[in-house]
């Protein structure tokens, strides 16, 4: 057992936005300080992946499939290979080993060999002295395809394949099926006074990180090094070793400073594997930078999701049962889709106390660019559906939609029906704050203007890794000597500021200024393992690991200070560069004299008991959950269907505000990206080709499109988070999308059960109402899916439900 942390149980003031007031007793934690890597970013000195160059670097260009589904009959690369300046040409035959983001889904080949499954799938790679030469050479490659009938939609994927399934060994084109039942759902519906069903659709979208993916590989002295804008260097390290058949000891992956991730750079990507192979073959540095269109093909973005939800409730609003079905369009590959599938069902019970819950999910393969993890991974879609469904249920019950939610809220220190362990929980407080700040209850009512409210939960890091293991999720090394303090950690700063968080916690523990702490991260050759930047895990997991390491050094230094001063260690004050009577440097030298080089390691693994034990229980649980609530205020024009968002209030249970500057940035970014998905963004297809593969046509809000945002914080001081902190990278995204749709209903009285809400959908709903039909636009039905019988899981007993 770890001793209770010194901050446990402390609950400080929660004035909105005023971080400093909240951080009494801390030296750097809670202060509004700039990120440590900001200087390089504002001077242009930061070197992103495509900014790196080595003499003699070859440029790699990928020839991609023009067909959504086809068999490769023959590939003739002779003319390309013979082109002056071309150094190497690779085909699928050169990279036969399959890989994938998660251990159970190894269905990717860096270059297609037998068949292509989506337009844009890489088929041949050319390395040449420069990009122009390589690109010209790709035009000389002849690929003979036998075209197969493509699968373009979820509905089509559920039918018997016209030609052949997209992947061998699957049942039709179904990738995954999941069916779980917690408690007695039929009984729950039987006792309900009101039962309601709805169908929703959430369109897919791309991350559109401003930086296009780029990777450079060098193979020298039997060592492969890859510099890449990856979010998960550790996983990529494993994949490269496997695919290239090199020992892990001979592979090093360095994650370069990131021009945006949002989940789009979590999966190992074809070009990363290809340049590595080419470097091994040619002995020269090889670089590949994707074009914007290629980024859209690499994709791994938000899954389009068709959803059906049925809820029973008593007259007083108590939910008696819920049944949630989802069909996900996975695109052509598994990616992290197995996890996505379970995520779509996992967090509904994390906000509402649902006594009986059935969840059935299906992920299908289609001939489209592969979907994968994007901010909120698998949870924005069901959150949108659930919140709008509850708005409608409230209407049926004649209840205020906020009151309906509140009477079903989960409580702190409880266990959900699907065995999630809830510890700190600020769902009531975020609701309170956002309602008060926005004046939601007394909002002005007029046609064309409305407000919407929604609430959500997210996890602080996946409780289980992408491959089965009992190893720590994050490891930190700390070196302290006369030369200074350096933290080593495999975590990747993808722009969210996680390096700064690591420096902050170490500085706090050692009583230093953040600038005194050097941070070395995301280099598998130098830094201990961290699983990567996804699922909002870095602050919580790497932050705890760093505290763990720093405490060990702190103890050593305190011992020295105590010895020198004759005082007891706990009587000494650590801070402002001093350990009691000694300066930090003196304490270090004294300790170094006695112990030799000072180094400490820290690690973090989620505690046991945060999940149930059933198939699928690994997805959803995290060591803690954050809660967010939003109110959106907007105008919706009944003549045009255009929507103008005026303001968004977003309240977030952050655990503890470690740095208001960083947190505010994540809050703003989440609101922005959620508004984008609610109103604009869609990765859609026409004639089986991407409809919008450019920054111009893939619409995303500009500076002039963004409303005012008001941030509200609730600090619940999580018992296990670093200083009580939780996450903010994804949680505040979630309530914004349903709040937009709810506000449109508030303004116009019609429901758009499908995002993005485009003007024509609003007009369709209004037209329907004018015809006397239901004022609604959205999907009509949920398709017939061959779900297996549910795995029945006994919910936690009332006795164990309190943890």
């Amino acid at each position: 057992m770890r001793p209770p942390p010194p901050w446990a149980g402390r609950r400080l003031g929660t004035e909105p936005g005023d971080g400093d007031a909240l951080s009494d007793g801390f030296q750097v934690v809670g202060k509004a300080l700039p990120r440590l890597d900001a200087l390089g970013k504002v001077t242009g000195a930061t070197r992103y992946a495509d900014d790196l160059s080595w003499p003699g670097t070859l440029a790699c260009v990928l020839l991609r499939s023009p067909h959504p589904h086809a068999r490769i009959v023959a590939v003739d690369t002779a003319a390309a290979a013979a082109t002056k300046g071309v150094v190497a040409v690779l085909t699928g035959a050169d990279l036969p080993v399959r890989y994938g983001a998660i251990a159970t889904s190894q269905d990717e080949a860096a270059l297609a060999s037998d068949k292509v499954r989506y337009v844009g799938e890489p088929v041949v790679a050319v390395a040449a002295v420069d990009e122009v030469t390589a690109r010209e050479a790709t035009k000389k490659i002849a690929v003979d395809y036998e075209v197969l009938a493509p699968v373009s939609s979820i509905e089509q994927a559920l039918l018997a394949p016209a030609d052949e399934p997209i992947h061998e060994g699957t049942k039709g084109n179904i990738h995954r099926l999941a069916a779980l039942e917690f408690g007695d759902v039929d009984e729950g519906f039987a006792v309900a006074d009101v039962v309601r069903e709805d169908v929703f659709f959430y369109e897919g979208s791309n991350h559109l990180a401003m930086e296009e993916h780029s990777a450079t590989a060098i193979f020298a002295d039997g060592q492969l090094t890859l510099w890449s804008s990856t979010q998960a260097p550790h996983n990529l390290h494993r994949v490269l070793a496997k695919v290239l058949d090199l020992p892990m000891t001979r592979v090093r992956v360095v994650a370069t400073p990131h021009g945006g991730g949002f989940g789009g750079k979590v999966d190992p990507a074809a070009h990363e594997v290809v340049v590595s192979k080419l470097a091994v073959l040619t002995g020269r540095p090889v670089k590949c930078t994707l074009s914007r269109e290629e980024v859209f093909y690499n994709h791994r973005g938000r899954h389009p999701a068709l959803m059906w939800v049925r809820t029973g409730a008593a007259r007083d609003g108590q939910i008696t049962a819920m049944h949630f079905r989802v069909a996900l369009d996975g695109g052509a590959l598994a990616s992290l889709g197995a996890a996505t599938t379970y995520y779509t069902g996992a967090l509904q019970p994390a906000t509402y106390d649902i006594p009986a819950y059935r969840f059935e999910a299906c992920r299908v393969f289609t001939n489209k660019a592969p979907c994968g993890p994007k901010r909120g991974h698998g949870t924005p879609q069901p959150r949108f559906a659930l919140e709008i469904h509850l708005d409608k249920l409230a209407e049926d019950l004649g209840m205020d939609p906020v009151a309906l939610r509140r009477c079903n809220y989960v409580r702190p220190q409880s266990r959900t029906v699907n065995w999630l362990r809830i510890t700190s929980c600020g769902i009531e407080e975020v609701t309170e704050k956002v309602l008060a700040a926005s004046g939601f209850a007394t909002r002005s009512r007029r046609v064309g203007h409305g407000q919407g409210f929604a609430v959500s939960a997210y996890l602080c890091g996946a409780g289980f890794p992408m491959y089965p293991s009992q190893l720590p999720h994050s490891e930190v090394g700390l070196k302290v000597d006369r030369g200074g303090v350096t933290v080593f950690c495999g975590a990747t700063d993808i722009g969210q500021g996680s390096d700064t968080v690591l420096a902050t916690v170490v500085a706090e523990e050692l009583g230093l200024d953040r600038a005194d702490v050097r941070v070395v991260t995301a280099d598998t050759g130098l830094t201990p393992v961290d699983l990567g930047s996804y699922s909002s895990r870095v602050t919580f997991m790497a932050g705890n690991a760093a505290i763990d390491a720093a405490r060990k050094i702190r103890t050593l230094l305190l011992e020295e200070a105590a010895r020198t001063s004759g005082l007891l260690a706990h009587e000494l004050r650590v801070g402002d560069g001093r350990f009691g009577p000694l300066s930090f440097e003196q304490a270090v030298e004294a300790a170094e004299e006695r112990h030799g080089a000072l180094s400490a390691s820290g690690s973090y693994a989620p505690p046991p008991g945060i999940s149930g034990e059933f198939r699928g229980s690994a997805v959803g649980p995290g060591p803690a959950y954050t809660y967010s609530a939003a109110v959106v205020d907007l105008d919706a024009d009944p003549t045009t269907g255009e929507v103008l968002v005026h303001k968004v209030w977003v309240a977030h249970d952050i655990g503890r505000l470690l740095n208001p500057v960083l947190v505010r940035g994540q809050m703003d970014g989440n609101v922005y990206m959620a508004l984008a998905e609610a109103l604009m963004e869609s990765q859609t297809y026409r004639k089986d080709l991407l409809h919008h593969p450019s920054v111009l046509e893939y619409k995303t809000p500009l500076a002039t499109d963004m409303p005012a945002i008001e941030h509200l914080y609730v600090e619940t001081i999580d018992p296990e988070g670093p200083y009580g902190a939780k996450e903010v990278g994804q949680g505040p995204f979630l309530p914004v999308v349903p709040a937009v749709v709810s506000a449109i209903h508030d303004a116009l009285g019609v429901w758009v059960d499908e995002v993005p809400v485009t003007p024509e959908k609003i007009l369709r709903a209004l037209d329907a109402r004018d015809r006397g039909a239901l004022g609604r636009a959205g999907p009509k039905r949920f398709p017939a899916v061959p779900f297996p019988p549910c795995i029945k899981v006994e919910p936690p007993h009332a006795a164990t439900a309190r943890v």
């Binding site: 900001a38 940035g665 920054v695």
Partner: protein
């Protein structure tokens, strides 16, 4: 051979026919502070100043520049002294991943050079061609207003 007036210095470099200012800066001169996110004028990441006015370097040919003075993010600071925009961006968290930052800074500089006291709406208009995926533009707009204040207060 291409000649450029760049950040106050004269430069000469070889270039292939059809290389844009973006490629010349990044690949010929090693000035990688200028970024790219689309290469066809749609994202603003490659914004530089040409005679003080924002231009998209991915759509500029060196022949179009004649004797014009080009300013990139590397030329924004005065030696070791940062431009107030740079300090405001740092302090207020206007740069997250930082990939849009160079372009944002230069669009903002052109605005402040012309309008020392811009309104929130004017700042947003000036930045409308620069896409940012991280910040929701909020901290960026705040930072530009903050820098404007610093500049106005400067002697």
């Amino acid at each position: 051979m291409v000649r450029l007036r760049l950040n106050g210095e004269d430069h000469e470099t070889l270039a292939r026919s059809g290389e844009t200012l973006l490629e010349i800066l990044r690949e010929r001169l090693g000035l990688t502070g200028t970024k790219h996110g689309c290469e066809v004028g749609e994202c603003g990441a490659c914004t530089v100043l040409v005679d003080g006015a924002p231009r998209l370097s991915c759509l500029v040919l060196p022949e179009q520049l004649a004797d014009a003075e080009v300013t990139t993010v590397e030329g924004l600071a005065d030696g070791a002294v940062l431009h107030p925009l740079q300090t405001s961006f740092m302090r207020l968290g206007a740069s997250q991943c930082g990939y849009c930052t160079s372009g944002m800074l230069l669009s903002a500089k052109a605005l402040l050079d012309e309008h020392p006291d811009p309104s929130n709406a004017e700042i947003r208009e000036a930045l409308a061609g620069n896409v940012c995926r991280c910040t929701g533009y909020a901290a960026i707009v705040d930072a530009v207003a903050d820098a404007a204040e610093t500049l106005r207060d400067a002697p």
